[in-house]
């Protein structure tokens, strides 16, 4: 009893280490090491290396290059060593020598049975097992690719697999003797199965949790996807035990292999090995690389004092709230450069309105808020067209069009009629082939981005009617608005035009399109949140309510909703027809300035793409080029997303205003002087900072080891079960970002740096938040992010060391 209790803890522990993987429809960035943040970064690296047999640092040649380019100096190396108390033990020269040494052989440590057999007999059992499990998982979780479904989808994964595998002949053809016969003798309960396997081949292994972790990591893609399902189930208070089921499946293959081979082979105990010298040294190089970045970055920031003094109270003409996304930085800079009367604010791209959105043509609601919080309200799209004509009426008839659509799909895809479909309809595919091939040659309407953005026939419904679960009640609208404005630091001095600007992206034929959308909006584009926010801010009832709470929005102030298309850098004003005639002039003015800002942003961005000079000779030409890039079905690198993100700054915009931060920084506005109770500081550190950390580590992991933590080469991607991709024929589900999101063919566009967070606040105030919030403390204490404080109104920088201690940073004179 006691032992089984202990075992279920072990299983839970191993499962807990797996990071979730969101499906392609809303691919949210996630920290791939999320299950290990309770460990120190170097310790976690050791575990990962033991378990995945792969390094999570760049190759030595990379650091060597950085060293020669001066991005890492000997001083940085020394600093890295001293940060970890190794100053006396290792000299920088040793680290430099290490680069030219041949890497010591990677000795695998925690091994599955299949791994061990592969090593001894030079077979490929591990690969085979991954393919088998992947085959059944993709059938089990298929979201509509196959029209003949797996019959056991209603059973738990483990039992479904067992039913299928007792019929499947493949393992026996490949040489796994008596597979089906042995399978029948295995227990029906996944935990019992795991117990059986552990007792058979790991009774003496001390680190059983690591062995279990290894077993899950050997099929990391599906483990991660199932972890996502577990997470979703938990949030709706259901239970999903399929991750344990997956572990049991993996162990079952091992057990059968073990039974087949145990008389011929001697198996080793799996145990944790100390980190190799390799990875230890790489870690110091990585740290030094980050120190080098921080050194330059702080020097850059500290040049900013003069502007600080000029902080003025003058009334602005336009205020614009953008997402903290690094891509906003470039646009904000261009936008501000056009007039002194423009102020921009950085805030999480859902603008404090966590909603679920139901569009007219979809069955399921989209969750439009960061994955760390749950949406409280639902809103839906409604048709403005109140009096449809007779034909529209017919076609609006859902049942009828659905019937025809389904029948057509059956005609196209069924085994018996696909031949006739091809013969009658096939020739018509000439037109899309021509159109998509020549898309860049003719002018057309810009590709749309976001939800129904250009479809002016619909609008959003946010009013709560009766007992319906759709809509936001008025008192909640007021509360949300007040909270949002306070957090944005926008409670006085409202400009006449305020732009709430979400962001989204446009790309064609891109399975990873949603990885370019807004992470703060749950992997969708942020137009819905911007529209909801501005509708609420403009509502007269809400303004009355806000006045009672002490926030007075002047009558002439109007909130515009906008959407920044990060692929083409266009900003579109949404719900234009709602703008009252009194504000039309403001609207036109705003649009003009935005267009100019778009041109500036595009000009700056064009250097990162391989665009021939004749296509970027004028802003207009460049605009066209960007539009056709976004519309190109063969474009594999439509934009660079959040690549090269490296820092997070929570400070007043004056701190960074005149600096070119090269779209590498998440910018969150924060004014410590108006945050006496550190309420906003806590919000920033526990939500946007964590999200930025997730994004940062996803890019980090996908860069340092794209084969394992990234999704490999995009040209081989094969969308599977409508939720993920295989790279090529089969194999595990891919996690992370594709190579083409990080690498331009010649070099990595993303510099793998852990996030450096800069907060303009008193050290003691930051300390109090760290004390309060365990999740934040873990991230900081264990070295998953670097934290720096900036002295409010001053120019002193301090680095958070540990245990609430700070170290003053020396500035270059």
């Amino acid at each position: 009893m006691n032992q089984s209790h202990h075992l279920s803890d072990l299983i839970q522990e191993a499962c807990h280490k797996i990071a979730p993987l969101w499906p392609l429809s809303n691919f949210v960035a996630v920290n791939p090491f999320i299950g290990l943040v309770s460990q120190k970064f170097p310790d976690a690296c050791k575990i990962i290396e033991n378990v995945t047999h792969r390094s999570i640092f760049m190759p030595a040649s990379f650091y060597e290059e950085q060293f020669h380019q001066g991005n890492i100096t000997e001083k940085d190396l020394l600093e890295a060593l001293s940060r970890h108390g190794k100053k006396e033990i290792i000299t920088p020269q040793e680290l430099i020598d290490f680069l030219t040494q041949a890497p010591s052989s990677n000795e695998d440590s925690v091994l599955t049975i299949a791994d061990q057999i592969d090593k001894i007999e030079k077979t490929e059992w591990s690969k085979f097992i991954v393919e088998e499990i992947s085959k059944w998982c993709s059938a089990y979780y298929d979201e509509g690719q196959a029209s003949w479904h797996m019959p056991w989808k209603s059973l738990p994964l483990y039992n479904a697999w067992k039913m299928a595998a007792t019929i499947d002949r493949t393992p026996e053809i490949i040489g796994m003797l008596n597979f089906r016969k042995q399978l029948k003798t295995l227990p029906e309960d996944p935990v019992a199965m795991i117990t059986l396997a552990l007792n058979a081949f790991a009774s003496e292994t001390k680190e059983k949790d690591l062995l279990l972790y290894r077993e899950l990591m050997s099929i990391n893609g599906w483990s991660s996807y199932i972890q996502y399902r577990v997470r979703e189930a938990l949030s709706s208070e259901k239970q999903d035990t399929n991750l344990v089921g997956l572990l049991a499946i993996r162990m079952a293959y091992d057990l059968i292999l073990f039974r087949n081979k145990k008389n011929n082979l001697s198996f080793k105990k799996s145990e944790l090995k100390g980190a190799l010298k390799n990875s230890n040294f790489s870690f110091y190089w990585q740290e030094a690389y980050e120190i080098g970045f921080q050194r330059n970055f702080i020097n850059k920031l500290s040049t900013q004092t003069r502007v600080l003094e000029q902080k003025s109270d003058e009334q602005k003409n336009i205020q614009a709230v953008f997402c903290i996304d690094v891509r906003s930085e470039r646009f904000r800079r261009s936008f501000e450069s056009l007039s002194k009367q423009i102020q921009t604010i950085g805030f999480a791209g859902f603008f404090g309105f966590p909603v679920e959105y139901l569009s007219l043509d979809q069955k399921e609601k989209k969750i439009q808020c960061p994955v760390l919080i749950r949406p409280k309200f639902s809103i839906k799209e409604i048709s403005k067209d109140k009096s449809p004509g007779p034909i529209k009426n017919i076609l609006n008839n859902n049942l009828l069009s659905e019937a025809i659509y389904k029948a057509w799909k059956a005609f196209k895809q069924s085994a018996v009629s696909c031949f006739s479909f091809v013969e009658t309809i096939g020739l018509f595919y000439t037109f899309p082939l021509i159109q998509k091939t020549l898309c860049s040659l003719y002018d057309k309407a810009p590709p749309s981005c976001g939800h129904h953005l250009l479809n002016k026939k619909t609008s959003l419904d946010i009013e709560k009617k009766g007992t319906s679960d759709i809509g936001i009640p008025e008192e909640d609208q007021i509360a949300l608005a007040a909270e949002a404005l306070k957090n944005m630091g926008l409670t006085t001095q409202f400009a006449p035009s305020i732009l709430i600007c979400g962001h989204g992206s446009t790309s064609r034929n891109n399975a990873y399109a949603s990885s370019l959308d807004c992470g703060a909006c749950g992997g969708y584009s942020g137009d819905i949140n911007a529209r909801v926010a501005s509708m609420i801010f403009n509502s007269s009832c809400v303004r009355e309510g806000l006045q009672k709470k002490g926030i007075t929005i002047p009558e002439e102030t109007y909130f515009f909703a906008g959407l920044h298309n990060t692929t083409t850098d266009e900003v579109t004003i949404l719900d234009e027809e709602l703008v009252p005639t009194t504000h039309k002039a403001q609207l036109d003015h705003l649009k003009q300035i935005l267009d100019k800002a778009s041109d500036l942003t595009r000009t700056e961005r064009s250097q990162f793409f391989n665009i021939p000079t004749h296509l970027k000779k004028s802003p207009k030409q460049l605009h066209k080029t960007f539009l056709s890039r976004a519309d190109d079905w063969s474009q594999i690198m439509p934009e660079w997303g959040l690549a090269n993100n490296a820092a997070f700054i929570a400070a007043p915009r004056e701190r960074t205003k005149s600096l070119n931060l090269n779209a590498r920084v998440f910018l969150h506005d924060y004014d410590a002087s108006s945050d006496k109770d550190q309420h906003i500081l806590e919000m920033i550190m526990s939500a946007p900072m964590v999200v930025a950390n997730w994004i940062n580590l996803q890019y980090y992991a996908s860069t340092v080891n794209n084969q394992f933590f990234g999704s490999g080469n995009k040209v081989l991607h094969n969308v599977t079960s409508n939720l993920g991709v295989f790279e090529g024929n089969a194999g595990d589900l891919s996690v992370g970002l594709p190579l083409q999101s990080l690498h331009n063919g010649k070099k990595f566009i993303h510099d793998p740096l852990r996030l450096s967070v800069f907060i303009e606040a008193e050290n003691k105030n930051i300390n109090s938040i760290i004390k309060k919030n365990t999740a934040v403390r873990e991230l900081l204490e264990n070295g998953w992010v670097h934290l720096f404080s900036i002295e409010p109104q001053g120019n002193k920088y301090a680095r958070y060391v540990n245990n609430y201690e700070w170290e003053i940073c020396k500035l270059a004179s």
Binding site: W148, A407, V719
Partner: protein, 525 residues
């Protein structure tokens, strides 16, 4: 004039072959640019003779032109007839689309120039197959196409699965090549010529009835070459495994190269059609593969695997049409399928299933309406033209079987229409769509039969009782397939149905078995 025409025909393939054969050392930097230009030029060059042929020349006459008159045996290098014209336009069009696509799709890949070199060679050789006027030329182009494709399939040579698939193809290709070589030698022995026109001329002079034994052998070798090239059961297993290569290669292979088997049969149709045994075996293998492939397609969970099995099935159906003697229809199938499949592969990054659509037609009201109007108009045209042509559609070979299969497919459509609701409007709509489809189908058949007249079987071919029985069997096969598909939702609880599902999902283990065997015999280090 003739010389001008043929230089234009030859220019496209020659240009591409030049870029394909030129060593990578020369003209490395701008090669991608030049190849893209060349392949568009090849497309335009292919249009000229095609239009010329349509507008000007007597369409019934095959045009061949002497290039090498020094050697009497090799005098006919080119054969350019309506079949060549259709195929030339098709392949050069797809080649242009795919090359254009690869420009951006593979940007940044260090081996992009290498890729374009072999792409160019493959497209150039495929174009050469189409215009080759004799067996030797045909054979060389055929082998060159497969070699070029092999290089593209092993583009990522560090990937073991890519090597395995390419090796499987390599081995099957060599068997196919041997069959082709055997057929060529036998043809030479029998007809004392490699030239298609000589051969076809001699065949047309043969007395009807008894077929000489040597012709039976020749035809069987040709059939074997075709079914291996077109990935027919049991030689299909390499095709679904070749997804370890960039998407444009899959598109080229599934829309272009795989058709070579079908083209071989259609090209040799004057020879093949006199031999009922060859036709019957083609039809039987074709129908088996069609059913096999399409049923497996239903169960596959990844988009490219589904498309690959769809190709296997469609190729089966196309060869089945050849087997029925309906060669012009087979060409129609090649053309339509190529366009469909190229589009499907190239846009496979964007599967529809991402969005769980509720009322999918809502956004496409206009398009749907246009579609309806269009359908009504075409069906009107079709029925009038059918009336004027006064064709008795059912008399032609295989037509009865093919129309029956169309009706089975339409039945499937109608069945799914009335699953949930039935209203007067739905009845009207579904009737309009169905009759439109049937009408358009007939219309296309008429056009292709008219264009490719020379491919029609000899009118005096008598329907034997064997042919009749086989036709019946084919129709019954498709009917059973229809019933099985419709009954599937009601059989979901049956254990045997579960067992069947697992075997089908595993593609009847052909792949596992072949891979295992190959890895044993030829390990990848």
């Amino acid at each position: 004039m003739k010389f001008f025409l043929f230089s234009i025909i030859a220019a496209g393939p020659l240009l591409l072959l030049f870029w394909g054969l030129l060593p990578l050392r020369c003209a490395n930097s701008r090669r991608i640019h030049w190849i893209t230009r060349s392949v568009w030029a090849a497309f335009i060059f292919s249009l000229v003779p095609a239009i010329f042929l349509l507008a000007h020349l007597n369409i019934q006459e095959s045009h061949s032109y002497t290039l090498f008159s020094s050697s009497p045996r090799m005098e006919h290098t080119f054969l350019f007839n309506p079949l060549s014209a259709v195929m030339l336009v098709l392949i050069s069009f797809l080649g242009a689309v795919i090359t254009n696509y690869s420009c951006h799709y593979l940007q940044g890949d260090p081996k992009q120039t290498y890729f374009f070199k072999w792409l160019s060679l493959t497209i150039g050789s495929a174009l050469t197959i189409v215009i080759a006027g004799n067996m030797i030329f045909f054979l060389i182009a055929w082998i060159a196409t497969n070699i070029g494709l092999h290089q593209l399939l092993t583009f990522y040579s560090h990937r073991k699965s890519a090597l395995l698939a390419a090796r499987k193809k390599l081995i099957f290709n060599r068997i196919g090549d041997s069959c082709m070589i055997a057929a060529t030698i036998l043809i030479y022995f029998n007809f004392h010529s490699f030239n298609f026109s000589d051969i076809f001329q001699q065949v047309s002079l043969l007395p009807t009835g008894k077929v000489p034994e040597i012709l039976l052998f020749i035809n069987m070798f040709l059939v074997a070459g075709a079914i291996i090239q077109s990935a027919q059961f049991p030689f299909h297993s390499w095709l679904p495994d070749t997804l370890e290569t960039p998407t444009p290669v899959s598109a080229l292979m599934h829309a272009g190269i795989i058709n070579a088997g079908g083209f071989l049969i259609v090209r040799m149709s004057p020879l093949v059609r006199i031999c009922p045994a060859a036709l019957h075996s083609l039809a039987i293998i074709g129908v088996i593969t069609a059913v096999f492939g399409s049923v497996i397609m239903l169960t596959q969970t990844s988009i490219k695997k589904s498309l690959a099995f769809s190709t296997v099935a469609q190729m089966g159906f196309m060869l089945f049409q050849c087997g029925l003697g309906a060669f012009p229809v087979a060409v129609l199938h090649i053309v339509a399928h190529s366009l469909y499949k190229a589009h499907a592969f190239l846009s496979s990054g964007n599967p529809l299933g991402f969005k769980k659509l509720h009322t999918p037609l809502l956004k496409e009201k206009g398009r749907f309406l246009r579609f309806l109007i269009f359908l009504s108009i075409t069906s009107l045209i079709v029925f009038t033209s059918a009336y004027f042509f006064k064709k008795n559609l059912l008399e032609e070979s295989g037509s009865f079987v093919l129309y029956s299969i169309l009706l089975v497919a339409i039945t499937n459509f109608l069945w799914h229409c009335f699953q949930k609701i039935s209203s007067f409007l739905l009845i009207v709509l579904s009737m309009v769509i169905s009759s439109g489809l049937i009408g358009f189908y007939i219309f296309l058949h008429l056009i292709f039969k008219e264009t490719l007249k020379e491919l029609l079987p000899l009118p005096e071919t008598a329907v034997t009782s064997l042919t009749f029985l086989l036709s019946l069997a084919f129709i019954v096969t498709f009917m059973v397939l229809l019933i099985a598909e419709i009954a599937l939702p009601y059989l979901k609880k049956k254990t045997w149905c579960h067992v069947l599902y697992v075997h089908i999902y595993n593609r009847f283990y052909v792949n596992a078995f072949v891979n295992h065997l190959l890895l044993k015999l030829w390990p990848i280090s």
